[in-house]
Structures are given as structure tokens and as C-alpha cells.
């Protein structure tokens, strides 16, 4: 900064002052670069060298700027409205583009990132499915187009080396994970191939942030054991601060996979994601074709272990943003509409001003100002206005972007890369310059050349040519506003429909939290179950608690824990083709606590909570119908988890529960008492039903659980209502933004139609005066003006509805239970727009009716 200031000053200051001023600045440079910049600008202003070449041009530009600034100050309403309008629109556009650019467009921060792909198994319905370890291994060893690959599994360890145990999100990854991405640890070393095997895999790598936060960036720790889940793990290395893990943005710790020859390394154990790096020069289509061939071979070789029929290969960026892409693109479209409306509005304001100033220009021309000089003056005014709007927009973007980021899902890749960057600034600048040209030239177009014409125009009875342009702009604004309102309306109706969906349980008055039982204190399943029982008993004793249960997962909680359900009496040839259901290993009071209805048979009783007794289970209506259509499911038997797993007797049928989302297709559930489960879950959800506000009990519940075992972390505490609403958060975000844009558009359209009518009334004052002198009643004059507004409004609404029908189909993936051309929404928007534009025309109409004919005529 200081070098730049000196460079400028040396060239631009009067020679007598250059050296003293620069010396003074250097002497004081510790006052900061902002001070330096201010001083430099001031010195340039006060002591600049008289320009040699083009001096008169510069002088006249400066004088144009001064005149423009004075004019803008003299009409503050116009200036404020224009700058605010531009600022909001430019700011919103910049903010949205600042999100979209890094998330959807910018290449991922890995070398040759376009060679990185996800590989999924493709189910018969085309859906993507995780791969099992054996499949992963076969795909990479048999493929020629893939250079490297890595498998990723979920891992949530508890850091247990200090007094406060902490659950962190992590991943278990193949030793080749970071090598596949093309990144290396900043400190320490990467995983080795030998470590990727059972017995050697207690090795971790930390993210830079976690290393700094929890371990103070201690280099001495690298290569030594740290305590995780109560066991020692070797800390091999730390990733660089700049490493952005787009595959699991929330993961802060990685453990080597070590799956080889383990029972869960099977083909049917679909819990790994597979990434791969294609060899340089390989095309996606070639890789896809090759992997499909390999997959077909595998399916033929192991017919009983695959339900899939091929693979899906997709670039990492596209795959990780698949869910948010439609919403982000829709928002881009919406914000562009807002920008268009804002431009239309400001141009319209500028035209109105030009009409008022036409006499001024005529006189200036008559006094000898050249036409080009007048155009330059107008351009300067437009440029100044656009620059002010640009600055306001930048301000809006800076303040709104952090809010926007906070609303985005934390699992969105590249969140950390979102900032107002040069690209977005470039967009703003381009917009501003474009606006300057449009705004600057619009009034000149409406100007007729000769003084006499213009001065005579003052005596015209009707409007000026500018008026038609403004009317067109208003029609456009109303049309754009209608499109935004329809979109917002459709999204709003979708959310209402969604929240009306019966989730299958009663979410009110429920507090949920995740409790843990890992480490040496819990060597076997019984100790874990006992711990759950102790926690339930203690929490039930709290005042205000009416029910307590534990479960391995929550409906709408974002968990996926499904198992194939087999009828032992009817095993299909390919066991992989059995229906899969959400696994609920629960305490016996779970259904009662969640208020999930039993539609047939009975629920669990205390006697079911034993490991020894006969194994029982409940199935949801959907699962029962799928397994035993048109039969009574009570007394039937089912088996989960392999051919050697015990079979269980169905004792009851439960209502369906929305497990994976209110808007997702219904899944099937099966419930078993946790003590009859094949294994205990170390992470368990505690569900507390309360008499009053569940949030009020949060602290007491936390204290109680902690008192039972202070070494175990408590995580994800929230009310069930919040869990449900979080499952709709992306829709909410889209709705809030669309709603805000639509309201802004509506306000701008109202301002637009008001402005046009008010301008037209004052221009037509004489005509209206003549009309009322000739006997027109105030009523007739009001209907004249309102009719004028009504025609514009109707035309705009008609165009807007046409545009909506054309555009809202791009919203389809964001809609739920509402068609893109939902008649109720369209009709509602029509009525709303008609009503507000009518209201906006009433004020100018009333003013028109009050025009006193004698005053109007005398002013001639």
C-alpha cells in the first residue's frame, strides 16, 4: 500500500511538495494503510500537478462530477431511492453469485480435479448405492482407466485424552485416500499401505483446525499415540490448513480403513463411498463403460450378492452438490429477475427526471452547450449514481453473505471458500458500468433537438414520448414481480404441504440427544445395555418427564441404518433382492414415547427386554404389506443380518414413520428390543417426552446423564420439533430468499406504477383541468387515472403469468405436492398484484380529481 501511494504521489504531486509530503507520510507510516490512503487522496486533491495533456478534458470531467454530485444532492429522494434499489439488487446478486461460483463452478482445490470421480453401484431403479469393500477392491484392481481409488466410511470417534471427552466427525478411509485427492499432510506423514489392514489400523491424521484447537498445534505429538475412544491411536500427521475436504466437509479426523478380510468387508456390506482418480486423458464415458463391464462380470460371478445392475460414475463436484444444485440455480434466476426489476425502476426514475429537466437541457443547448457535452454530463450522472449503487451493493453483500452462509447446510462442500471474491466484484462492476450507460443515455433519447420544440412541448396537452417508455418498464416490472411471487407462492405452499405430512409420530414435547458408551468401561454389549437402562431410570425420575426411551436412530434425523429383511420360509434365489427396512433397536418403551401407533397385535412389554427369551419384533404397515401381502403378519417370522442370524416372530404392526424425509418416499421399518439385537450401539439416541417445554429440561437432562458417566460425550441435543424442521431447512432457505426477493419485487413494482401515474398526472394537469372544466366529474377523472394504471397492471400480470408457466418448471424439484402451474397460486398472485397496483394508483388518481380547473388553465 505504502509503495503504491508513494508511486502515485511522486508522479502526481507538484514537484515542490512531492518530497516533503512523501517524507512526512513515511515518517508516520505506522498509522496504518487506511490513514495512508486517506492522506494520499487528500494530497492528490490539494496539491496535484496541473495536467498537461488532455488537461481541459480532465478538468471538465471533474467539473461534470461536481455538477452531478450537486444535482444528486439536490434531489435526495430520487438519489436515495435509486441508490437503495441498485444497492439491494446488486448486493443480493453479488451474494448469491458468491455462493454459487465456488460451490458449483470453481474447480475443486485438488490437482487435476476434473479427473476425480465418485463410483456408485447402480440399483435397478437407477438410484446410487454405496459399495461394499470387496466390490471396491475388485473395481480398482480390474480397472485400467482408474489410476487410484479410495473407499470412505463414516467414523465418529470420541477424543478421550482430556477431562472433556469430545465427539468429532471423522472418516475411515483407504490408505490411498489423500494420494487419490493429490494432497499431502502438512506435518508428519500420510498413511502407509501396511497400515490399511486389521491390527495395524489404529492410525489417524488430524485436520489442521482440530490440531490447533484441541492440541494447541503441538508438533511433539506427531508420531505419538493420542487417546481415542479410550484406546491409543498413532497420530501420523496433520493436513494443511488449506485442505478443503469436500467429500465430508465436516470431517476433522481420518483413520485408516483396515478392512481387509474382515467380516464387514463383504460385497453386501454397502456402507462405503468410493472415489477414484481417472488416468490423465481418460474420459468419463470411457471409465463409466469400463466399470459397467466389470460390474456386470461381478454380478454374474456373485449372483447372490448384488442387487445392482451397473455403476454410476460422476465427477466429485457434481455428485457432492447434486442436492443443492437446483435450489442454487433457481436462486440465481430469481436474483437476476430482481436485478432486472431494479434496473427498470432506476431507468424509469431517470426518465421521469429527464422529463422534468427537458426545459433545462433545452435552455443549456440554446446557450451554446454542445449536444455531446450534454450527453457527457448525463453519462457522468449515470456513472456516479451507478457507482454509489455499486458501493451500496457491496455493503449489502458484505453484511448479508455471512447470514446466507449460516443458513446453508454445513455438509455443503466448499462452504469455506465462499467469500466476496474478485469474480463477484467483476460482476458488480460490469453491472454498474452497464447501468451507467443505460441510465446515462435514456434521457437523451427522449430529447428532441430544438429549443422551440421542447419549450412548446410544455404547452402540450398530453404526455411525452418518455412516458411510453416508462409505461413499458412498469409493465415489465409487474411481470417480473408476478413471476417471483408465483415462485415464492409455490415454494410456500410446498412447505405448508410438507409440514402437513403425517410423520407417523408425535414430535411435540420431545427432547432428543445422543449419548455414547465407548471405551474400556464398556467391554461388552451387556454393559452398554445396562448403561442405557441406568440413564433411562435416572432421567425418568426428573420432574416434568413423562417418558424416556432409547433408540439407535431417529426418524428424520438423517441416519441411514437399513438391513435386508428375509422371510425364512420364503428366501429368494438372490438374497440381495429382499426388501430393506430401517433398523430400530429400541428400548421397550420407544413406541409409546414416540407415540407411534400399533395398528395390529401388541407392542413390546418389559418381558421382551431379555436376551434369552424368544426373539420378537414389530414391522411397519408398509413392510408387512411388502413381505406378506394380504396375509396376517402376526406370528410370521423374519430374519435380518445374514443367513445365520436368528429369526424373530412378528408380534405387532406399527404405523409407517417418515424416516428419511417428509418429502422422501416412504421407507419400511422394523423394531426389535435392543437387548435382543445382535450387537449394542455405542451411539444411542435418548428420547425424553416432557409435560411442558422440552427445551426447558435440556440442562437437567444433560446434568443427569453426565452424572452417570462423565467420561462420555453428550451430543446433538435438540427438540424433536427442531429435528423435523431441520429436515426441511433447505426448502426453508429457498423459501425465505424467494420470499424476500418477491417482496422486494412487489415494492419496486408498486413504486414503479405509482411513479408513472404520478408523473403522468402532473404532466397532464392541464388536460385534466380542461376535462373537469368541461364537466368531467371527479369520479370520471379518478376512473380515468385508475384505468390507466389498471391497463398497465393487467398487461404486466398477463405477461408475468405467461413467464411463470414457462419458468416455474425449473422449480419442479423444489416443489412438493404442488404443480408448477398450481391454479390457486396463480390466481392468488393475480389478485394480490391487481389489488396493490390498484391501491398504488388511487393516490395519484385522487390528486388528479382535486386539480382545480382554474389553476390548471391559468398556468398557461
Amino acid at each position: 500500500m505504502i509503495r503504491f501511494c508513494i508511486w502515485i504521489l511522486e508522479r502526481a504531486l507538484l514537484p515542490d511538495f512531492a518530497s516533503p509530503v512523501i517524507g512526512d507520510l513515511i515518517e508516520q507510516q505506522d498509522r496504518g494503510s487506511l490513514w495512508m490512503l486517506g492522506e494520499t487522496l487528500s494530497a492528490l486533491w490539494c496539491l496535484h500537478r496541473p495536467p498537461r495533456l488532455g488537461g481541459s478534458l480532465l478538468r471538465s470531467v471533474v467539473s461534470d462530477l461536481r455538477v452531478a454530485a450537486r444535482l444528486l444532492r439536490r434531489s435526495p429522494t430520487f438519489t436515495i431511492v435509486s441508490v437503495l434499489t441498485l444497492g439491494l439488487a446488486i448486493g443480493a446478486t453479488t451474494a448469491i453469485f458468491s455462493v454459487v461460483e465456488p460451490v458449483l463452478l470453481r474447480p475443486l482445490p485438488y490437482p487435476d480435479a476434473e479427473q476425480l470421480v465418485f463410483v456408485w453401484e447402480r440399483d435397478p431403479d437407477g438410484a446410487r448405492d454405496n459399495v461394499g469393500f470387496a466390490t471396491f477392491r475388485d473395481l480398482i484392481t480390474q480397472s485400467r482407466t482408474l489410476e487410484r481409488a479410495a473407499a470412505i466410511g463414516d467414523w465418529q470417534p470420541t477424543l478421550s485424552d482430556k477431562d472433556d471427552p469430545e465427539r468429532v466427525q471423522g472418516d475411515r478411509v483407504s490408505w490411498s485416500y489423500f494420494r487419490t485427492l493429490g494432497v499431502r499432510p502438512a506435518v508428519g506423514r500420510d498413511f502407509t499401505e501396511e497400515e490399511d489392514s486389521p491390527g495395524h489400523s489404529d492410525v489417524v491424521i488430524l485436520s489442521y483446525g482440530l490440531w490447533q484447537r484441541r492440541y494447541g498445534g503441538d508438533r511433539a505429538m506427531i508420531g505419538r499415540p493420542i487417546s481415542i475412544d479410550g484406546n491409543p491411536y498413532l497420530l501420523a500427521g496433520v493436513m494443511p490448513a488449506s485442505f478443503d475436504n469436500v467429500l465430508t466437509p465436516t470431517a476433522k479426523i481420518w483413520r485408516v480403513l483396515g478392512y481387509r478380510d474382515q467380516p464387514w468387508a463383504c460385497r453386501t456390506c454397502h456402507h462405503l463411498r468410493m472415489i477414484a482418480r481417472m488416468r490423465r486423458g481418460e474420459a468419463l464415458a470411457a471409465t463409466q463403460a469400463e466399470l459397467d463391464v466389470i460390474m456386470t462380470r461381478l454380478v454374474t460371478a456373485y449372483p447372490k450378492e448384488y442387487a445392482s445392475i451397473g455403476t454410476v460414475v460422476g465427477r466429485i463436484q457434481g455428485e457432492t452438490t447434486r442436492n443443492v444444485r437446483p435450489a442454487l440455480l433457481a436462486l440465481c434466476g430469481a436474483v437476476l429477475l430482481v436485478l432486472l426489476i431494479a434496473v427498470a425502476n432506476v431507468v424509469s426514475l431517470q426518465l421521469a427526471r429527464a422529463t422534468r429537466r427537458s426545459e433545462e437541457f433545452a435552455i443549456r443547448e440554446a446557450l451554446g452547450a454542445s449536444r455531446s457535452r450534454l450527453i457527457r454530463q448525463l453519462l457522468t450522472e449515470g456513472l456516479l449514481l451507478a457507482a454509489l449503487g455499486g458501493v451500496a451493493g457491496l455493503l449489502v453483500a458484505y453484511t448479508s453473505l455471512p447470514q446466507l452462509i449460516r443458513q446453508l447446510p454445513p455438509t455443503l462442500p466448499r462452504l469455506s471458500a465462499i467469500r466476496i471474491d474478485v469474480g463477484a466484484l467483476g460482476v458488480v462492476t460490469a453491472i454498474v458500468v452497464l447501468l451507467a450507460l443505460v441510465m446515462g443515455l435514456a434521457p437523451v433519447r427522449g430529447r428532441s433537438g430544438a429549443l422551440a420544440d421542447t419549450l412548446r412541448a410544455g404547452r402540450r396537452l398530453t404526455g411525452t414520448p418518455n412516458h411510453a417508455t416508462r409505461a413499458m418498464l412498469v409493465v415489465g416490472e409487474i411481470a417480473l414481480a408476478a413471476m417471483l411471487l408465483v415462485s415464492a407462492g409455490l415454494l410456500g405452499r410446498s412447505l405448508i404441504r410438507l409440514l402437513d405430512v403425517d410423520a407417523g409420530f408425535d414430535a411435540t414435547h420431545l427432547l432428543t440427544l445422543e449419548i455414547n458408551s465407548s471405551g474400556p468401561k464398556y467391554p461388552n454389549d451387556t454393559t452398554v445395555f445396562d448403561y442405557h437402562d441406568r440413564v433411562r431410570e435416572a432421567v425418568r425420575a426428573l420432574p416434568g418427564v413423562t417418558g424416556v426411551a432409547v433408540a439407535n436412530q431417529l426418524p428424520l434425523g438423517g441416519n441411514v441404518d437399513t438391513y435386508g429383511v428375509t422371510d425364512p420360509a420364503n428366501v429368494p434365489a438372490n438374497p440381495e433382492l429382499v426388501p430393506s427396512g430401517d433398523r430400530y433397536a429400541v428400548s421397550v418403551d420407544y413406541l409409546e414415547t414416540m407415540r407411534i401407533p400399533i395398528v395390529n397385535g401388541r407392542g413390546f412389554t418389559a418381558s421382551d427386554a431379555t436376551a434369552g427369551g424368544s426373539k420378537v419384533g414389530l414391522v411397519s404397515v408398509a413392510l408387512a404389506q411388502r413381505m406378506w401381502p394380504n396375509e396376517n403378519p402376526i406370528g410370521k417370522r423374519f430374519r435380518v443380518g445374514g443367513a445365520d442370524a436368528p429369526s424373530r416372530t412378528v408380534i405387532g404392526v406399527t404405523g409407517n414413520v417418515r424416516h428419511s424425509g417428509l418429502d422422501a418416499k416412504t421407507t419400511m421399518q422394523w423394531y426389535i428390543p435392543e437387548r435382543q439385537s445382535l450387537f449394542a450401539d455405542n451411539e444411542e439416541i435418548l428420547i425424553v417426552r416432557t409435560a411442558g417445554d422440552p427445551a426447558a429440561l435440556a440442562a437437567a437432562v444433560r446434568r443427569t446423564v453426565r452424572a452417570i458417566d462423565p467420561t462420555q460425550p453428550i451430543d446433538k441435543m435438540s427438540t424433536m420439533d427442531d429435528v423435523v424442521s431441520a429436515s426441511t431447512s433447505q426448502r426453508r432457505l429457498a423459501l425465505v430468499l424467494f420470499g424476500a426477493f418477491a417482496v422486494a419485487a412487489l415494492l419496486l413494482a408498486i413504486a414503479g406504477i405509482y411513479g408513472v401515474l404520478a408523473g403522468s398526472v402532473s404532466e397532464r394537469a392541464r388536460e385534466l383541468g380542461v376535462r373537469s372544466a368541461l364537466g368531467a366529474t371527479p369520479r370520471a377523472i379518478i376512473s380515468l387515472v385508475v384505468g390507466q394504471g389498471g391497463r398497465l397492471s393487467l398487461l404486466g400480470i398477463a405477461l408475468g403469468l405467461g413467464g411463470s408457466v414457462a419458468l416455474t418448471r425449473y422449480l419442479r424439484s423444489l416443489l412438493f405436492g404442488v404443480a408448477p402451474d398450481d391454479p390457486a397460486t396463480l390466481a392468488g398472485v393475480c389478485v394480490l398484484l391487481a389489488a396493490v397496483t390498484l391501491a398504488a394508483s388511487l393516490i395519484p388518481a385522487a390528486r388528479a380529481a382535486r386539480i382545480d380547473p382554474s389553476t390548471a388553465l391559468r398556468s398557461d
Binding site: D16, P20, V21, E39, S42, C46
Partner: protein, 106 residues
Amino acid sequence: MLGELEQVVLLAVMRVGRDAYGVPIHDEIERRAGRDLTLGTIYKTLSRLETKGLVASHVGEPTSQRGGRRTRCYVVSAAGKQALQATFKSLRRMASGLDVGLEPST
């Protein structure tokens, strides 16, 4: 009659005494009058005063602290002091008899 900025700068130059260049003049004005003028404004005022013959300037020594740049030091000329006197006199005359606290306490 001197402008208000001119009076402040002239007085500051007199207060600083030897080696009155931009930085000490600025600091003196900030300390006494509580005004944070930019160096550009100060030098512009000084250059106007020099044209009127109210101050004289000479080039000082370069120092390493200033990146080898010379200072430009100012002293108030006799005409400058007279101009200040004339300004103050007329101000006093304008204020005499008015209760604005400008009467010299006698």
C-alpha cells in the same frame, strides 16, 4: 483578513518554532485545536500563505527515518505576524460590547 484555516496554520507554525514542517504542524493543531487536518490540506494552506508572503520556507535535511526525503520547513514572516494582528484586531472590534466571551479580560 485571514481565513480560519490560515490563522490556525500560522499560529501552529509559530508554536512549533524551529523545524516547522508537516508532521509537527499537524500534531500541534491536533493537540491544541482538536482538529485532524490532512497533510495535503496543511501544505496547500502553507503554499497559499507563501504566495501571499506570510510565511517563508526552506528545504531541510533528508533523514533515513523519512526514507531519504527532505523536509520543507516554514517560518512566519513579519507580514504574517501583522496579518494575524490585523485579523485578531478586527475580530475583537466586531465582538466588542457583545457578550460572546471574546473581550480580552482586563
